[in-house]
Symmetry: C2
Subunit: 299 residues, 2 copies
C-alpha cells in the first residue's frame, strides 16, 4: 500500500510547530531520508529559530504559526502538550486542503481531545508519539539518529483514513523508527507504566536528595555513580514537558502510582521486620521481566 513512498519525497513542504529537541531531530531525520522538500519551523523562541536556521535544520523560521502552515502538506506539532489545543485553533484556518497534521505528544487522549475538534474538513489528524528523547532540550540537541530502531506509536481515531495512517507510518519508518498502532487510552496506560512512573520516581528521589544538608548533598553528588546518577539524568528532563505529561495523563498516572505506593509499603514492611525471604522472593521475580526484555531484543 505504501510502496510508492519507499523512496523519494513524500511531502513537498513540512511545517514544524515547535523546533525543540524532538522537532529538530525529526527535521534532521526527514532530511537524511530525503522524504521532504522544504521545511519551515515556527517557534516562539528567537534563540530556537536562530539555532535551527544556523544548523540548517530548517529552511525558514517564523514566530507566526498561521504563516508557517500555509502551503504545507505535513504539519508536525512538537510543543509541550498544554499548548496543542491553542495551536490547533490558531493554525486551523491556514491549513492546506489535503494536509496531514501529526503530533509527538507523550499523552494521547488529552491531546486528541484538544486538537481534533479544530482540524478542518479535508485535513487529516494522525496522532503519534515517538518513544525517543534524551535529557537534553532545544534544537542544539537535535540529531537525525534519535529515532533509529526506536518505536513510534500512532493512535489514530476511528475515523482516521487508513491511507493517512499508512503514510505517517511510512514516514516514521523512513526516519529509522519501528511503528505500532494503539488505541489512545491504551497508549496512555502503557506509557504511565513504562515512562511516567519511572520518571516520577526519579524526579522524587532527586528531589528528596535536594533537601539534604549541604555537606551530605556534596557526597551524594561525589558517589552518584552507584545508581543515583541515572536518576538525575532522567530528572534533568524538560520541566514544562513533564509538568504537562503528569497533568494530561492524571488518571492513568494516579492509578499506577497507587499500586506502586502499595508495593513500596510492602517492601518497607519487609525491611522493617527483617523479612529476608520476602525480599528475596520480590527481587527474584523481577528478573523475569528483564529476561522478557532481553528476549524481545529491547535491552
Amino acid at each position: 500500500m505504501a510502496k510508492k513512498h519507499d523512496t523519494g519525497v513524500m511531502f513537498e513542504r513540512a511545517a514544524f510547530i515547535g523546533i525543540g529537541h524532538i522537532g529538530s531531530s525529526m527535521a534532521l531525520a526527514m532530511r537524511r531520508a530525503g522524504v521532504v522538500g522544504s521545511i519551515i519551523a515556527c517557534d516562539k523562541s528567537a534563540a530556537h529559530r536562530k539555532t535551527a536556521l544556523k544548523r540548517k535544520i530548517v529552511d525558514e523560521a517564523t514566530a507566526d504559526a498561521g504563516k508557517a502552515v500555509k502551503g504545507a502538506d505535513l504539519v508536525v506539532i512538537a510543543t509541550p502538550i498544554s499548548t496543542n489545543g491553542a495551536i490547533a485553533k490558531a493554525i486551523a484556518p491556514h491549513l492546506k486542503q489535503g494536509a496531514i497534521v501529526t503530533d509527538v505528544g507523550s499523552v494521547k487522549q488529552d491531546v486528541i481531545a484538544a486538537v481534533a475538534p479544530h482540524i478542518p474538513k479535508g485535513v487529516t489528524f494522525v496522532p503519534g508519539h515517538p518513544l525517543a528523547g534524551t535529557e537534553h532540550s532545544g534544537p542544539e540537541a537535535g540529531f537525525a539518529e534519535l529515532f533509529d530502531g526506536r518505536w513510534t506509536v500512532l493512535t489514530p481515531l476511528p475515523r482516521t483514513p487508513a491511507k493517512a495512517i499508512t503514510k505517517i507510518a511510512t514516514l516514521w519508518k523512513r526516519m529509522g523508527a519501528k511503528v505500532d498502532t494503539m488505541k489512545p487510552a491504551h497508549h496512555d496506560r502503557v506509557l504511565a507504566i513504562t515512562s511516567h512512573l519511572p520518571h516520577l520516581c526519579a524526579f522524587t528521589v532527586v528531589g528528596t536528595a535536594t533537601d539534604l544538608a549541604e555537606d551530605l548533598k556534596q557526597e551524594v553528588i561525589q558517589f552518584s555513580a552507584s545508581g543515583f546518577r541515572d536518576f538525575t539524568r532522567v530528572a534533568a528532563s524538560d520541566p514544562i514537558m513533564w509538568r504537562d505529561i503528569f497533568l494530561s495523563n492524571k488518571e492513568a498516572v494516579l492509578d499506577i502510582l497507587q499500586r506502586f505506593t502499595e508495593d513500596l509499603a510492602g517492601m518497607q514492611k519487609h525491611i522493617r521486620r527483617g523479612d529476608g525471604a520476602a525480599l528475596e522472593k520480590m527481587f527474584t521475580r523481577t528478573r523475569a521481566i528483564r529476561r522478557g526484555i532481553i528476549e524481545a531484543k529491547q535491552a
Copy 2:
C-alpha cells in the same frame, strides 16, 4: 608513604572468599596491575570455582575457607554481607600473622560489627566498598576494568593502623579506582541515598509491572525503552546481595525511604489537584543536582 608500592608485587599471595562478579573482577584487576603473586579462591559453588580456574582468574580454588587463607598476606571477603560474620569466624584461626583482611560489602556498620570481633591479634581488618558493579553475577561476568575511574570507599576503624589503610588504598588505586575514606555510619547513610533507595524504587516499579495482566505486561516489555528498561536492568541485580543490603542497612534505608514517601505523596497531591506550578517548580530544582554531578565530572 606508599611510594614503595607504586610498582611491583604488593602481596605474595591473595585469597578471595567468594569469587563472584566483584571478587573475580578484583582478581583480574590485581593481575593486570601486577600487584599480586598467586591467587587462591574459596567458593562454595563448584561452578564458580570451575569458571574461575578455566578463565585463569585464580591459580587455585577450594571450598575450604580455612585452607584458602593459609599463608595469604591479603584476604578479600567478597560474599553476600549476611555470610561475612561466619566467614570471619571460620578463617580466624588460619590467618597468617601480619595479613590484611578486607571486604567489599555495600553496608559497613553491620559488616564491621560481624567481622571485626573475629580478627585475631596481629592481623588487620580494613573494611572497604568499591562503588562498582553491573547487573550481572558470577565469575563469568568478571572483568579487570570494572573499577577503572570508580570510587572505592574505605571505612577504617579508629584503631586501624594508618599503614594498612594506605596499603589497601594503594592497592585499589593500582586496580584503577579512586579512593576516599569515610566513617562507617556516614558511608551507610550516603549509600542509602545514592544506591539503596534508587535500587528499591527500581525493584518496586518492576515488581508493580510484574503484577499487571499478561497482555499489558507484554506491551510494557515492548515499549520498555521509554524509561522502564533502565529500571529493569537495576532490578535484575543479584537478589541475595540486595536482600542482605536492605536488611543490613535497615535504619538508614528506612529513614530515607520515609522522606521519599513523603515527597512522593506531595507529588501525588500536586498531580491530583492539577497544580502545574508546583510540579514545574519541583522538576526545575532537581536540575541543580544534575549540574553538580556534571561539574564534579561524575556524569
